[in-house]
């Protein structure tokens, strides 16, 4: 390649940096607009002015209560869980070098759910009350998620399986975890069963500030770790030998990313339930729109993931009110066709 063509190639890359910033700003703007709409719309619609004055604390008392104690925690929960799932999917796609990877197809979401129902089963007394603090629930979800992520890794490593097979291991293990969840729900107290069914479908309907707080703290630790690993994720995009040649401990990095993704997934699942396909779609959207370095893409994926879950929650409220359709059902309706699309494309490239 000549110097001239290098210069030609280099130039558009440099000029695209402001474009990336513009796209990120656009994503953030869409996110804010969705957030405002999500706060304004509900069983009683509010004008933008009323919303803003209520947020600032100068509005009517009833508005302030509706917004601060009902709609804001729900919004925050939707945004944070979307962000966590998107980053988890991003880390998994980078760790496995597989565009089909995501927390839900790899069975990690179901593993986390299994952790939660086992926790509820083990630590409930006869009166259906928990014998330990509910604060431990996220830890149970993390253990479940790490366990199932570990199983997928073990199976994949043992057979040196091709990428698609790894996804199928995830699907199969996910089915097993789902069976376990069903068993514990059936065996558990009845009123908790209906609650669990709602939660499993992925819903931010009953979000409370206390939960949002815990999730925010957990993410405050985990999210910086994703960005610390961004440079390694760039190296990992190379083939295995080249990645090693750049001085990257490949296996260790993959394991770290897997563990990080499992923890992020568990954090989201333990509060918002199994919201599927966000972790698949958001990283793809970020890559298509932004390209470039992993750090930038991760930021974009996080914004898009948050926006998707907020939009899905908004959609179920506007379209199906007063019925409470789980937000996870909407994300699946969007995400599943997209998965099929990339599956077919992967197949064509392979052929």
């Amino acid at each position: 390649m000549t110097a001239a063509s290098f210069a030609q190639r280099a130039h558009p890359v440099r000029s695209r940096i402001p474009a990336r910033v513009a796209i990120l700003v656009a994503c953030a703007t869409v996110l804010c607009a969705l957030a405002l709409a999500s706060v304004a719309l509900g069983s009683s619609g509010m004008s933008l002015q009323r919303v803003l004055s209520a947020i600032l604390g100068t509005g009517e008392r009833s508005d302030t209560i509706i917004i601060w104690s009902l709609r804001m925690p729900r919004l925050a929960m939707a945004g944070l869980s979307g962000l966590a799932l998107a980053l988890a999917g991003f880390a998994l796609q980078r760790a496995t070098r597989n565009p089909l990877a995501s927390p839900s197809v790899l069975g990690i979401v179901d593993g986390a759910a299994l952790g939660v129902v086992v926790f509820l089963f083990l630590f409930s007394n006869d009166a259906n009350a928990l014998t330990v603090s509910i604060q431990w629930q996220p830890l149970a979800a993390v253990l479940g998620a790490l366990g199932f992520a570990g199983l997928v890794i073990l199976l994949a490593a043992r057979t040196g399986a091709p990428p698609l097979r790894v996804i199928l291991y995830g699907v199969a293990l996910g089915a097993l975890a789902k069976a376990g969840v069903t068993l514990f729900i059936v065996d558990g107290p009845v009123h908790r069963a209906s609650q669990a069914a709602m939660w499993l479908a992925g819903s931010v309907y009953q979000a409370r500030w206390a939960d949002v707080q815990v999730l925010a703290i957990v993410l405050g630790v985990l999210v910086p770790l994703v960005f610390l690993l961004a440079r390694r994720m760039d190296q990992l995009q190379l083939d295995e030998l080249s990645a090693q040649a750049t001085g990257l401990p490949v296996r260790a990095t993959q394991l770290m990313l897997f563990a990080l993704a499992a923890t992020l997934t568990a954090a989201a699942v333990s509060f918002a339930g199994a919201i599927g396909f966000v972790g698949l779609v958001a990283p793809h959207a970020a890559r298509l729109m932004l390209g470039g370095r992993a750090g930038v893409q991760a930021l974009g994926a996080a914004l898009i993931g948050a926006a998707i879950v907020i939009a899905a929650d908004l959609a179920v409220r506007v379209l199906f009110a007063p019925l409470e359709v789980p937000a996870g059902a909407v994300t699946a309706v969007i995400g599943a066709p997209y998965f099929l699309f990339i599956l077919i494309r992967a197949g064509r490239v392979h052929a």
């Binding site: 089909l100 199976l155 043992r158 057979t159 399986a161 091709p162 698609l164 097979r165 996804i167 199928l168 291991y169 699907v171 199969a172 293990l173 089915a175 097993l176 789902k178 069976a179 376990g180 069903t182 068993l183 059936v186 065996d187 479908a201 599927g276 199906f320 019925l323 409470e324 359709v325 789980p326 996870g328 059902a329 909407v330 699946a332 309706v333 599943a336 066709p337 998965f339 099929l340 599956l343 077919i344 992967a346 197949g347 064509r348 392979h350 052929a351």
Partner: protein
């Protein structure tokens, strides 16, 4: 080995399991009482339990299990893919979705309409998954077929969730039906289902030489005079009928269709003349065994039979996935 030894063994196992199934539950019913209930009826507690609970669920398990086992064999043959099965390919989900749509939007309770909708849904979904997998990597590639099927199933179950909450009247009933199992099912549908299963099984037995030829490869099959595409479509239609009928009776039940044909192949017979009846019988036996185990695993509650089947089916699926013979690339 005598030709009909595996058949005889399976029939003996089924008979034994059916007898056990009539005796056990939350309460054990002694043989004398079971026999009296079966022969004379009556309305004491033991007779009611046997005649209204245990006989129907045993019959449902027998017929639905057989139908699913055979449907699995047909799908595995049509795709030359050892992982094909109505649950994993989303065929069951298609049947379930069609029934939910029918019931929610028309409110019909007509059993034959429901069965018809289930068959149509199964067929459409099967065609969709086949064509998706075909445009990706070919239907014999286990990964593409399964991933397409699993994703379509996930999509349809979300669709079901959305449709179902919109109609609270039928919600409880539908949720129970969708949980998939053999207990407390509408046994009246069996009068429709049983003849259909027998007819399809007879047709498969008749098609056996063609199915054997289909198992080779497209070129060889064509050379043997088998119109590959036509036969594939016929087989898919037959499998969809079986899956649709069994879903309309028992809801979606996975993994029997995966396990039964592999169990049948353990007999060592490669030909469909034997595999068709053997898969049918193995499916019945598996369904009965799972249904009996479901009554005890979290006694005194009853476990969903789908859980037990997943516990058996998933390790089997993982084992099949690990086998080198599946092809190294996909």
């Amino acid at each position: 080995m005598p030709r009909y030894l595996p058949h005889a063994i399976l029939i003996a196992v089924i008979a034994l399991l059916a007898i056990i199934s009539l005796h056990v539950g939350i309460r054990f019913t002694p043989s004398a009482e079971v026999w009296r209930a079966l022969s004379q009826g009556g309305d004491d507690q033991a007779a009611l339990i046997v005649n209204t609970l245990r006989v129907p669920r045993t019959a449902v398990a027998l017929i639905v299990g057989g139908a699913l086992g055979l449907a699995g064999l047909l799908l595995q043959t049509a795709t030359r893919n050892p992982l094909a099965e109505p649950g994993l390919l989303g065929v069951n989900a298609g049947a379930g979705f069609a029934v939910v749509l029918l019931v929610v939007f028309t409110g019909t309770g007509s059993l034959s309409l429901i069965a018809l909708a289930a068959c149509l849904g199964a067929l459409l979904c099967g065609l969709l998954v086949f064509s998706l997998a075909f445009s990706a990597g070919g239907i014999s590639s286990p990964s593409y077929l399964l991933l397409a099927g699993v994703t379509i199933a996930a999509l349809l179950s979300s669709g079901i969730q959305i449709v179902i909450v919109a109609d609270e009247r039928t919600m409880e009933e539908l949720i129970f039906w969708l949980s998939g199992g053999f207990a407390d099912r509408d046994a009246e549908l069996l009068y429709l289902a049983a003849p259909v299963v027998v007819l399809v099984a007879a047709a498969c037995r008749f098609l056996a030489p063609t199915l054997d030829a289909l198992m080779t490869d497209d070129t060889t099959a064509e050379a043997l005079g088998v119109p590959v595409l036509k036969v594939r479509m016929t087989v898919l239609v037959l499998a969809a009928i079986l899956a649709g009928v069994s879903v309309s009776v028992a809801g979606p039940v996975a993994f029997i269709g995966l396990a039964a044909p592999h169990l049948a192949r353990l007999s060592g017979f490669p030909g469909h003349r034997q595999l068709v009846p053997l898969s049918l019988l193995a499916g019945s036996a598996l369904a009965l065994a799972a249904d009996i185990a479901a009554r005890f695993i979290i006694y005194p509650s009853e476990a969903p039979v789908g859980v037990l089947l997943a516990v058996v089916g998933v390790p089997m699926l993982l084992y099949l996935l690990q086998r080198k013979r599946l092809g190294a690339t996909a």
